[in-house]
Amino acid sequence: MNHDPAITSCSIDGRAVFAAPKLGQCLRTFLREQGALGIKKGCDAGDCGACTVWLDGEPVHSCLVPAFRATGGEVTTIEGLGQPGALHEMQRRFLDAQGFQCGFCTAGMIMTAAALDEAQRADLPHALKGNLCRCTGYRAVADAIGGSVEAQEDVAGQACGASLRNPFGEAIVTGHARYTMDLSADEPTLEGLLHLKVLRAEHAHARIARIDRTRAEALPGVVAIFTWEDVPRRLYSTATHEDHLVDPDDSYILDNVVRFRGQRVAAVVAESEAIAEAACRLLVVEYEILPAVFDPEAAMRPDAPVLHDKGPATLGSRGNIYAEIHGEVGSVADGFAAADAVHERTYSTSRVQHVHLETHGSIAWRDEAGRVHVRTSSQAPFIVQQKLCHLFALPARAVHVFTERVGGGFGGKQEMITEDLCVLATLATGRPVKWEYTRQEQFTAATTRHQMTTRVKLGATRDGTLTAIEVRVVSNTGAYGGHAGETLAASLGGPLTAYRCANKKADGYAVYTNLVPGGGFRGYGSSQTTFAIECAIDELAIKLGVHKFTIRRKNMIRPGDWIESVWSDPSDVDFGSYGLDQCMDNVESALASGRGAAKPAGEAWLEGTGIALAMLECGPPTEHRSGAEMRLVSDGRYHLAVGSTEMGNGSVTSHRQIAAELLDCAAGQIDIINADTDRAPYDTGTFASTGTVVAGQAVALTAAALRENLLGYASHHTGAERAVCRLESDAVLCGDRRVRLAELYAAGSAEGHRFEAKRKAYLSPRTVAFNVHGVRLAVHRVTAEVRILHSVHGADIGRLINPMQCRGQIDGAIGMGIGWALTENMIHDDGGAVVNPSLRNYRIPAFADVPPSEVYFADTHDRIGPLGAKSQGECAINPVAPAIANAIADATGVRFAHLPLTPDRIFADLGPAR
């Protein structure tokens, strides 16, 4: 403590630091260089708050503070606030209420919350303006700050169904959890680390005539520059699926044609990020500009410029139409002829970004043996491994891909968009290479939800019985077609299946345009058509004078119905359980209760109620598989390895609970590792609602097999009948003899017995899940402000493995749905550039934008999903936007058919008070 203050740069969490920050460096990166890795980057621009620290006791966004200002100052980070075992009160609260999912926002959330005075705590919408969370919908954050305790204790034999804490919770709330970029500079594997930066296209469509790299190459510190001439000329898709054929191979690592503004043109690796960036600026690119097209209808016309001309590879697709899907069951012509009323209208949804708070990024290096290791933020590390092997012609054993904690995904990380360049550069230079997306790149050069325009035509008889459903969907997949076919199929699947009707017809087109590509996004195509159909059902109900609940109850799918969209071939979807009726009842009675906020005073406020329902087939129709391995270790604990990724969805918690139920132990007795191609069995990836129904199933099968192994050996060991042997916590009871697992292990190993099991799970049949959302809201007829007064949600997701987590997933999905409906929109200019590529100008919901929701779970137990559970992470988003749109229509008498419903897009049509 006796350091000369003159030579002390600053104190970080009580530790004196002697280092001079670089000129122009911000405090965030300086502190991280000094080892304070608890500090996160969500935006690097002051908007998200993930980098919050205290400077001399005052909370600040460290990405905005010039580092030199901390000289002589005292910095407190999340790691200095409290430690595992000695938590600060606010850290304990976030742990007890599980005020996080992926945990990437948590350090900043806690550092902000812990600095609030009483008045600020009483006004969280204002106090948390500068803290964005994409996962929780803020309800759990409010609970945490308010001090409510949601988590339950972990009791052997009762683990499944209990609200257990995340096993990494303490690490998350103390800033010790390690995410992809959280590697300290002195990590031995990273010796000689290089930094990668990408020069991005300035035109929406152009051929690269020439790239002059002389000036860039001459810059000291530049190690290598890659352009399209330096990469394997091998086509692939950045989208990750088990079946590589469901996405078009339409991309090169680096191409000589750019098809959207922001596409990669060249990659530079250098000794520092600053040098890599400077070198990018020194590259001179000569473009031959090609005509561009942004509107999918225009792109479908015969005279439109064609984006992809890949010879026979495009067999079956026409011009810019990448995928076309048509289908009809019954005859919609007959159906409309029999209708008493027909509603027809075009609805459209907007292009939105996932905004997982941790941006994309990866780090690649080679070990002495020459193996390539890739540490990445991915939802599908095993597919990434396969794709890397394909691109670089490497055998699978030469590539190791793994994740650390992943800071949110939502489908955005079902994509390989950083790993390939890092591996390319590491293979070329022999040195470790790191690349981290900026927030701006997330908007200009990652993927988005597919923008879809849907023409809906519905017919019904006077009593509200549907006679025909017809949709035409045009999906704008942007410059590349990853996920375009699958999301299109999904858009024509669940939303049409949800209603029983003899006559259904659908036409779908996924079309290339010169915009940033579409990709997988929570709700995956289904959200878009659910929006259109659920709005249309309301319009039809109004036309017929039938109540919105009545028309849905009359037509919604029920057990015994044939589960069918527009294709009559056999399907593997089945009713493992059914709770849609309960969801409808729960939402109806909650809305009727009068709870929620009252309509604001004054006649300018119009009030309305809206509902929407959604059906989800639990898992994708394409292949998906997961494996798990489990063993007993010498101290009597279990070790579980699962391939699936945890990105805040809670699977590491629920997988342990599933295993604990089958092994009659506490979840805490099970150690888990996941998402690592070396250390866990193969898993297709955590997407398409498969974390529970496939990976969870693999865990259940494995745990059950291990139980049989243990009991079989215990019976042999004790001589007791197998039938009287059972597991109990850390022991086996064999009749009246109790053998501790550690003891059993010792005996077994001495005899050469192995206590281990491995199983795989596939996804067939698939069950169905349902969600119903209801809102009551007020619209100001002059300012067009929308205030949600009461938000209620009914979910039929089978048995709740962890109620607190299930609730969290639903809250988060509702929050995201509110953003899609009311605040978010990627805007492009006439040249195809994103106008608002920052969190300042692209507004995901903040605390103030998301009211708390009442969530009701249907009482169902699925006979297909593991231990009665069904998919839950994805589907709750689907009915939210249409419920809001329906409520606005109910309030105002005006139908707004195009998302987002921001005040400036709707004010003109509101007219005077009704």
């Binding site: 600040v60 919408p125 204002h126 990020e273 600053a274 934008d849």
Partner: protein, 273 residues
């Protein structure tokens, strides 16, 4: 974020020591905007922090706000009771999209110099008839009304290297009764329209429109206007002033301005000071 192109950091203790000025230089105040976007054109930051300008000085004439006064200081400011307009201080701080943590660093002067339509410190100081004192690199200080200081979206009258030194709010304006209206596309978000009306003892009304327009637009009425007069005055604002961006279309902002102008008129018309 890191500003990778910065090669020099100067920390003067008097502004006079920076005599020459060239492209690539920038004054650094709170840094909350400078560090929030890439600044590849800059190579030198000149810190205003060491100049020791007082934050807030109260005198019989009114309030002088040093350009380096932090937003948080303004938020905490409690002035003389007869300054009826003081509630505007908090209302305008709250109108920032930026949270209280950014107020701990952001300066009032920085907000004026950014000259964004949604700059709430511009709204505040323009509505309270503030005057900017500017220090050109060479020559004598000059004074400019806040409303004229901002010339358009992200544009102002500062010459190369010229400093905003302070903003003076006259006591006469601070004593006025004020009405405030604000709207945003999202809750507590970036302003789509921020209107302030002040009423003097003689019944005159000054309406300041910001956020909806590319720079502050002020409408002065010597006597309380009627509904039609107010509406007519707002409708007369040139089409080019209405500012559309991702925080609201121009048409919407104009519509809000019309609505809020009338609300402010009605509010100030009734109650007496």
């Amino acid at each position: 974020m890191d500003l990778h192109t910065i090669r020099e950091l100067r920390r003067p203790i008097s502004a006079g020591s920076i005599d020459e000025w060239r492209g690539g230089y920038a004054w650094l105040a709170g840094g909350t905007w400078l560090f929030s976007e890439p600044q590849p054109a800059l190579d030198t930051l000149i810190d205003l922090g060491g100049l020791g300008w007082p934050a807030l000085e109260v005198s019989a004439d009114g309030l002088t706000i040093g350009a380096t006064c932090r937003v948080v200081d303004l938020h905490r400011f409690a002035g003389p009771a007869e300054w009826h307009a003081l509630p505007l201080f908090r209302a305008c701080c709250d109108a920032f999209l930026a949270s209280f943590k950014i107020w701990n660093a952001a300066t009032v002067g920085g907000n004026l110099c950014m000259s964004l339509p949604a700059g709430p410190m511009i709204s505040l100081t323009a509505a309270l008839e503030g005057f900017c004192t500017l220090w050109p690199r060479h020559g004598a200080p000059r004074e400019v009304p806040v409303a004229d200081f901002v010339a358009g979206n992200h544009a102002n009258v500062l010459g190369a290297g010229e400093l905003l030194r302070s903003i003076h709010l006259p006591a006469s304006a601070l004593r006025k009764r004020a009405a405030f209206r604000h709207a945003s596309l999202t809750k507590l978000g970036r302003s789509a329209a921020l209107l302030i009306g002040t009423r003097d003892a003689e019944g005159g009304l000054l309406l300041t429109i910001t956020a909806a327009t590319d720079r502050p637009v002020q409408l002065r009425f010597n006597a309380m206007p009627g509904v039609a007069e107010m509406r007519g005055a707002v409708e007369c604002i040139a089409e080019a002033r209405w500012f559309g961006d991702e925080h609201g279309s121009a048409a919407y902002k104009r519509h809000l301005a019309l609505h809020f102008a009338e609300e402010i008129r009605a509010e100030l018309e009734v109650a007496s000071p």
